[in-house]
Assembly symmetry: D2
Homo-oligomer: 343 residues x 4
Amino acid sequence: MKIGLLTSGGDCPGLNAVIRGAVLKGVISHTTEFVGFRWGWRGVVERDLMPITRHDVRGLARQGGTILGSSRTNPFEGEGGGPENIQRMLDEEGIDAIIAIGGEGTLTAARRLYDEGGIKVIGVPKTIDNDLLATDYSFGFDTAVEIATEAIDRLRTTADSHGRCMVLEVMGRHVGWIALHSGMAGGAHAILIPEQPQSIEQICEWVESVRERGRAPLVVVAEGFTLPDMTEAHSHKGLDAFNRPRLGGIAEMLAPMIEERTGIESRATVLGHIQRGGEPTAYDRVLATRLGMAAVEAVYDESWGNMVTLRGTEIKTVSIAEATGSLNTVPQSRYDEARILFG
Amino acid sequence: MKIGLLTSGGDCPGLNAVIRGAVLKGVISHTTEFVGFRWGWRGVVERDLMPITRHDVRGLARQGGTILGSSRTNPFEGEGGGPENIQRMLDEEGIDAIIAIGGEGTLTAARRLYDEGGIKVIGVPKTIDNDLLATDYSFGFDTAVEIATEAIDRLRTTADSHGRCMVLEVMGRHVGWIALHSGMAGGAHAILIPEQPQSIEQICEWVESVRERGRAPLVVVAEGFTLPDMTEAHSHKGLDAFNRPRLGGIAEMLAPMIEERTGIESRATVLGHIQRGGEPTAYDRVLATRLGMAAVEAVYDESWGNMVTLRGTEIKTVSIAEATGSLNTVPQSRYDEARILFG
Amino acid sequence: MKIGLLTSGGDCPGLNAVIRGAVLKGVISHTTEFVGFRWGWRGVVERDLMPITRHDVRGLARQGGTILGSSRTNPFEGEGGGPENIQRMLDEEGIDAIIAIGGEGTLTAARRLYDEGGIKVIGVPKTIDNDLLATDYSFGFDTAVEIATEAIDRLRTTADSHGRCMVLEVMGRHVGWIALHSGMAGGAHAILIPEQPQSIEQICEWVESVRERGRAPLVVVAEGFTLPDMTEAHSHKGLDAFNRPRLGGIAEMLAPMIEERTGIESRATVLGHIQRGGEPTAYDRVLATRLGMAAVEAVYDESWGNMVTLRGTEIKTVSIAEATGSLNTVPQSRYDEARILFG
Amino acid sequence: MKIGLLTSGGDCPGLNAVIRGAVLKGVISHTTEFVGFRWGWRGVVERDLMPITRHDVRGLARQGGTILGSSRTNPFEGEGGGPENIQRMLDEEGIDAIIAIGGEGTLTAARRLYDEGGIKVIGVPKTIDNDLLATDYSFGFDTAVEIATEAIDRLRTTADSHGRCMVLEVMGRHVGWIALHSGMAGGAHAILIPEQPQSIEQICEWVESVRERGRAPLVVVAEGFTLPDMTEAHSHKGLDAFNRPRLGGIAEMLAPMIEERTGIESRATVLGHIQRGGEPTAYDRVLATRLGMAAVEAVYDESWGNMVTLRGTEIKTVSIAEATGSLNTVPQSRYDEARILFG
């Protein structure tokens, strides 16, 4: 049996651990062969492949990024795209199944390839923001939270030494999990997430109450947070001429607003790409390894069109449809819980 | 309302975060007062108390250890021990309920105090080994795994540079969770846990097969692992005259045995106390904070004799009886999964 | 004897270790008393003092920031400013000498207070950028380099996974030491520092040669780096309406320029305040502790108007004039050395 | 020109960075070729070589250990040993010079090969203990100190939570630099080093005075520390049947002695191999890279029989004789300085 692996979308700590887990599972227990498609779906539609042996995955559990490369190519586009072309390629290359590691877009495309063309595909959910339903946590999230928490720990001493308000922007375009967890872990005085718009007045009230207790306020904000009265124009402030992700978007907007209203000197820090690179935490290495192994198991079970997930302490297989379509947002109860800590 | 807090048994990263979570929850949302019993149950039976204010818990989420101190005192012993004396003390001090943070012994004692004397007590499970049922994970475990994984990462380069076999001993007297997770995360070539006795011949076979693939073998062993033919005397080798935990017990026994049988130079390292001290990971800070908050909630709910636990992503309240009595051992399926990676 | 301590200017890992070293040295070996001036020179001119006991410095070696607070107040300004007012305050408070921990501005002011008013003052150099002459290294620098290097390690995996060019901006307004050392440690493909203006053409040539070798380019740039043809306006691009340090200044300018010229997708990351907060490295803790102890020694030696410095492995006392007036820039030889590694 | 590289003796963080620095320097600026001798001098006497290209050193700055392997083989022994055989091998392999990276034994042997046989050799000092004269610091030392300091930080919370005395054993057979620096950085209450024998009574006095101040004592001891009345037998307690480095030697001896005399529960921790493996700190990466580059420079300068060293901020070339023969011990003044902090 020969399995093709691909990693798609933004990189995420643990991608290589998934690859390693899959290959070791297949090679050792079932003498399966592996190939990697380079640069995500692009390798599929452009037939850009590389063999992956046991030797190639040595030491990959702790290595950030993906040895296969990644891109945002759509498998339904381009000359080699679509189910028919892909099936022909698979037949010619002798590939029996695809394990696609990616976010909502990749998983949805994988499902569609199976539904429309019978492509034998298994999904592995990848979202550093933890925004996919049907999995308790996704790999990479724990690492991102850890890095954001370390940043909060560092910013706190600067805040205290200068009596400043520090505003830290972390990842989270549509959901606020990284902000919620790092904010709780780091003892932030306000956590701002896309699910819970807050007025600038409310934010400044929190900031001032912290100041009144003699402390330097620390605000964690997810990149996707918006003020209720933010106009379209505001929310896109920071998108540069090349239409790339904003550097210093919402945090850079909030810091001067807070300073102006409260008179407390305020500074913005944008963590950016540092959150998604480098070595995964042990938690993410274990989770990613187990998901990779389970994906190969799912191939052996011919569980096409499904994906592997974490439920409690168990790895399960669920329909991709279950995991996509709507977002895993922060529920009100979790935000209320965290809000008590704001003080 | 006034709540008394205590931490009992070996220290564990996250104890202070539980205390902080409880105090913030009580102070901010319900104007509850808190006192801490010093040195675990000893503070209860000896009436050694300290007030804990909001100011006292500042910055505690990231601080290892416990500001209350800990010991292994039994609340049924001593002059002030037993339900009657304790109830009298609580009445005189105006304390309405106790939140007891501790392992199996503490939780069982807490339950007995409630059953036999109606002492209003809520438990918070604390076990760095992750050996308690009824909670998916306990705080401190993630930190211990992270530290053990970093140690494996470091030992690997020494192993490779000298062509040596490194044997790392991690915590786990009765269950092998720390060894299992750190071994998977660090890419160990053999994981030895109490639940799965292995013969020295099997261990040496794994070690030699690693050598044959041109690599330096890395073995992770839980302190409670035993060889099938280990006599009583052997298994206690290393227990010193003061009956204290062995330093370099099983690893120091295995390394020369492996070297003698395989001819591969072998070295033992014992992580020891480093695994249980210092700053908790972000994961443990969040979990411990939530448990502390939920314990106060359980007090308000008068959920006496119960404890708070993690199930999936939710904090639940369960009967202490559910969590004690038998151990949360590594199931066969998880060991089989990990064993595939030994290669 | 009573000594007054103050910390002035931007915070820096190791400030608290200096305070602890000074207090322990004075308290234990000479029964000296200490007071701290709050918020730097502001505490001097506004007579805002706090006693510092041995108990207060417990655990401070590893704590980032400064327990005294800091500001940029000038001791020659304000109602209580100038040598005469300060001497009167010192007399009234029974303070025999001041140890001033700060950068070039603070040291120069300290010297002037001594020259013009005979104020008994000893300086401790503080510059995270390492831009002071007369000391081999200043505390905080090693920590900043370590943090920047970790960021490079993390960015590398993202760069490789996406075939992108990553541009990391680190501190260094006038000198490029942090960029030089972190760039060498992290294996950057180009290091851009204020002392060595490079044309955008040269930068793109380096970037493209990396790409041709099949790697993803990683550029480290000090915040004070300028392109030779940068106009005044450009170089201030990013200074916001409140005249605060630019967020994403030079890196945000360079990334799109590189992308436009080379066609390689490029991303900017600005480390910012994270570099100056949090726990110091062991190196900085030792250096800062020794400097604090030596400053008290210098008080006992009545070495007024001087400062303590590191030379090789020794702590020396030198005239403040030696250390100020000109900058400790990266010499050509060190840049040439690093440039070989760009490849 | 072709240069042969070798790494000898115990592994040390930064060895790979030296190799990388040398190769990049030679390849890029002078089109020099490199080969590596495998397993230290053994590769020389057994003619076990591998080519090292620029591609092979990619990413090595941050990788612990040595890609060449290491051993303690003596180049004057064995069939291929001695200057004549080695010169013949070099001639036949077309190798012009050897860069030997190692400790006192390696450097002395290198010098002897040059003195007795004219072998063109340059030394790079490697000692994690920092026990070589003629260099301010050696690479690997900073990493070891950082790891030991992190261990102290972790042990402190356990000590405080249980009111215990913790005894941490760090590396340092003949000199106490690692104990001195990590003890100062971590705020140890007693630092015990080979250069300064202390009686058990003195140690217990320090421990008790800490207890009296309400704190939990933390003792750092270098593995080579001895009590003044330690017999030969005692000092070798812990050496096992295979004559290998003691696991838990001096710390395991001291902890029960302290407990017995003071009544304070005491625990020993032995850091062991963890100190010498894994990623180097940024400091060590920069130092090692510069030394590797300078060694190639020394080859071009035909500075045979010499070694490269750090003096202040500069890399210098000195005679090997200067660096060997006597040890770089901790001077009395540095111990007195640290002792003030014991309290």
